[in-house]
């Protein structure tokens, strides 16, 4: 009996360190990469796919109902609004990564904005010190949650629920009987929250950076992998990625520049997202966060200081919440009793979950805060344009959150059955 030679093994570069197993199909071309992507999605590894699909649906519907929705200036407004709650959602991503929750981010942001009003406007403390003071208080509150969780084993949803009330009380106490402090119009701080737009040349230059970063990192990794005899991805796929990213970002900027342009505040938010994404994916700390979220006991046995990881997550979350409050006081030019109440809390948590960070811990990314908050603000903005009352807005946002959580748990079940954790 004669045997056909194993064509697959013959075709593969036989000596590569990571291509020894002939059972695995490897995507070597752009087409292969695309079909591998569909396989991943079918197995429940959805990534940011649901949120992008959702965004397209939402934008199509609102654009159909009211053409103003997609006008450049409305989108610029949308970006201003995204930045404040988006920063809070970024903190929520940190605690969700560990499978924990912080329900007090709304009140925490309210305290942050109240502190700016009291310290900067009423007491005349320099703005930078007022902001530092607010962020420090955030760090203290976050470490209290972490201690309650790690030392007393108090579930974070209980401790932060208590914190929600206590911090709301602190906010009301700080603001006193007047209940609201106006921030001076014309100050750089309020301008930052309401007006400051990147000059055109900056806004066209910045979107080139991601492409350049992907390209240089990709080429360096390729060279490194080659030199140690590991498979390196195709250059076609890399260039394709760079071109798509650059073209899409430049197109978005060009469209926004038809209106007022790209807000600096949104730039700050995106910068924070990029930094957090780096920290979560490329540092030892980020690896430990994912590990603790996936299996805290295994992480402990690997020598990771689990308590410190909890501490860092809760502290970061509270600091981001306070920063979000500071930014929102600039956006509204006031520190009021309403700041941080209502839907801020829910929107921040919903944004992180809708963006694809799992409520069950161990899975998430900083980008989910960005994508999720754009979805949430699109809904809020679109419904406001339709003159719908906040009652309907709440119900619809609640519904979207429910859908996001359902997608999350279904995807999780599918991942479990496809062995993708």
């Amino acid at each position: 009996m004669t045997r056909e030679p194993n064509t697959e093994a013959a075709a593969a570069p036989a000596t590569l360190l990571d291509r020894g197993d002939s059972r695995v199909a490897h995507a070597n071309s752009v087409g292969g990469a695309i079909s591998a992507f569909f396989d991943r999605v079918r197995a429940g590894d959805l990534g940011s796919l649901p949120v992008i699909v959702g965004l397209v649906i939402i934008w199509t519907v609102f654009a159909g109902l009211n053409p103003v929705f997609l006008s450049p200036n409305n989108l610029v407004n949308l970006l201003f609004d995204c930045s404040t709650v988006g920063v809070i959602a970024l903190g929520i991503v940190c605690v969700l990564m560990l499978g924990e929750i912080d329900l007090s981010v709304g009140s925490m942001s309210g305290v942050g904005s109240a502190l700016i009003g009291v310290l900067w406007v009423n007491q005349g403390v320099p703005l930078i010190l007022a902001i530092t003071g607010a962020l420090t208080l955030g760090a203290v509150i976050g470490s209290v949650y972490a201690l309650l969780r790690t030392r007393l084993g108090m579930p974070s949803f209980v401790s932060t629920l208590a914190g929600l009330l206590a911090l709301l009380g602190l906010q009301l106490y700080l603001l006193g009987s007047t209940g609201s402090i106006n921030l001076p119009y014309g100050s750089g701080f309020v301008d930052f929250g309401q007006l400051l737009i990147m000059p055109a040349w900056v806004s066209y230059t910045l979107p080139l950076l991601p492409g350049l970063a992907i390209l240089s990192k990709g080429l360096r990794t390729r060279a490194q992998r080659r030199s140690v005899n590991l498979s390196a991805g195709s250059i076609g796929a890399l260039v394709f990625k760079v071109v798509v990213a650059t073209v899409v970002l430049e197109a978005i900027v060009a469209y926004l520049n038809q209106g007022r342009g790209v807000p600096w505040m949104f730039g700050l938010f995106v910068l924070l997202v990029v930094v957090m994404n780096y920290a979560l994916t490329r540092t030892k700390w980020g690896r430990s966060m994912t590990a603790v979220g996936g299996n805290a006991e295994a992480a402990r046995r690997a020598g990771i200081n689990v308590r410190r990881i909890y501490l860092s997550a809760f502290v970061l979350c509270s600091i981001f919440a306070t920063l979000g409050g500071v930014l929102s006081s600039a956006r509204l030019a006031s520190a009021s009793q309403q700041a941080g109440t209502g839907d801020v809390n829910l929107n921040a948590i919903a944004a992180a979950v809708i963006g694809g960070t799992s409520l069950f811990g161990g899975r998430g990314s900083a980008w989910s805060a960005l994508l999720g908050i754009i979805v949430i603000q699109s809904i809020a903005n679109g419904l406001t344009l339709l003159n719908l009352s906040s009652s309907l807005r709440y119900m619809i946002t609640g519904g979207v959150l429910a859908i996001a959580v359902i997608v999350d748990s279904l995807a999780r079940q599918s991942r479990v059955s496809h062995g993708r954790a």
Binding site: L230, N295, G303, A421
Partner: protein
Amino acid sequence: MTSISPEPASRADPILSLHKVSKNFGAVSALTDIDLEIHAGEVVALVGDNGAGKSTLVKALAGVHQPTSGSIFFQGRPVTMNGPSDALDLGIATVFQDLALCENLDVVANIFLGQERNPWHLDEVAMEVRAWTLLNELAARIPSVRDVVASLSGGQRQTVAIARSLLLDPKIIMLDEPTAALGVAQTAEVLNLVERVREKGLGVIMISHNMEDVRAVADRIVVLRLGRNNGVFSPDASNEELVGAITGASDNAVSRRTGRIAEHMASGKNST
């Protein structure tokens, strides 16, 4: 009960020694007054029935559990291990029975968990190369080290856990049932590995229910029963002796079964 205590393989001071170590979980005393010594270049097999306290002992030495009483000496100095990182720092590496892997991380991330190269800018390429080297030493059959551990089979996971314990050049390796889920070739590789590790002068504690594997590599066989020392044997001790020490009686399920089979064969022969 007959138990012989052969001379230890090396006359030098033990790397690790335990003196009257006890561990209670509430009312359950999982370990009572355990004495144990491991020398450099020695493989000690730890055997005993289910629930005898083998894993608890390993966990106490890995810093996962703190002993209720008793003392642990490492290279002659008394040590207290407040957490797993203390044990890792001393050079005690452990493959746990439940493996303790993070299912949501890929193989490379699991192998390097807690020991990543370049904390501020992870060196993924160097880590991947090292991971492949370790896995190839174990003859691992792992499709891709970039797959999450959740997608691996039980034996593949066990190989990953063993590879992880080798990463740090430890002084002592503790393997809690390392071959329970492994295939024929992989079991042989692990036993080879144990021998190679011994030649390098490391101490090995191996837990196994497979007497064949134990005899093949062990220099001493330490029996635990109901959380207590129940004899030390040399690998050429007879099966009855070992089984007797493990089950605590000369009349036990194993001896009854052997007896029954012998009887059956004898009567079968008579009838023909």
